[in-house]
Assembly symmetry: C2
Homo-oligomer: 120 residues x 2
């Protein structure tokens, strides 16, 4: 997760795809390794940085920060900083973030049945 080199072929391919296919567009936004898991935790209410960290197995602080930043950029979560010491920061889904709920649900259902199928 660094920057995207806006001159690469990779980049223009993604743009072209996203232009034509909303589902490809969506997957560039929520396709990160941790993105959906973070969102699914946030579906049940706002959480602090440290709380999220505890809920996510093995995530490093760097990754969590990066993912949260990306989600914030994409208006999926909002970030509230309380000017206290030690600092407190709360993350919460925006309305378009909450709109992910059916997506996550379908994905969960499908994932579960696929898993059952292939482990049998």
């Amino acid at each position: 997760m660094s920057e995207i080199k806006q001159t690469s072929t990779n980049f223009s391919n993604k743009i072209a795809l996203s232009d034509e296919c909303p589902e490809a567009y969506a997957s560039t936004i929520i396709g990160g390794q941790w993105t959906l898991v973070i969102c699914s935790w946030l579906l049940s209410g706002k959480l602090r940085f440290g709380e999220l960290k505890k809920k996510l197995p093995n995530i490093t602080e760097r990754m969590l920060t990066l993912q949260l930043r990306k989600l914030e950029e994409n208006k999926i979560i909002s970030r509230t900083v309380y000017a206290e010491v030690p600092p407190r920061v709360e993350y919460e889904l925006t309305s378009i973030g909450y709109a992910l709920k059916p997506v996550i649900k379908e994905l969960e259902d499908w994932g579960a049945s696929h898993k059952k199928l292939t482990s049998a």
Copy 2:
């Protein structure tokens, strides 16, 4: 898309996540750049390699091959080879592949509304 080094931390993180969260599991399977687009074309019926290629903007043959192989491995599509010259190969969704339909639909809807929101 090469192999996955099964000793990496990346790898074990993905496993751990997939174990607990069906949605993370699902996204490792259908999270490729082209995966969903391919599936959404196949939702309307079987297609040949060359036909798929025409429908996907800018995809290289190598990428298409890799993605199709991955989908086949995951039992999402089936592959039928006709022993003709020149060769003919048809790809078709399996039943778990067709089960992706609602997922794709939700993703499309969400993608479309997110796009509208952010371009406004």
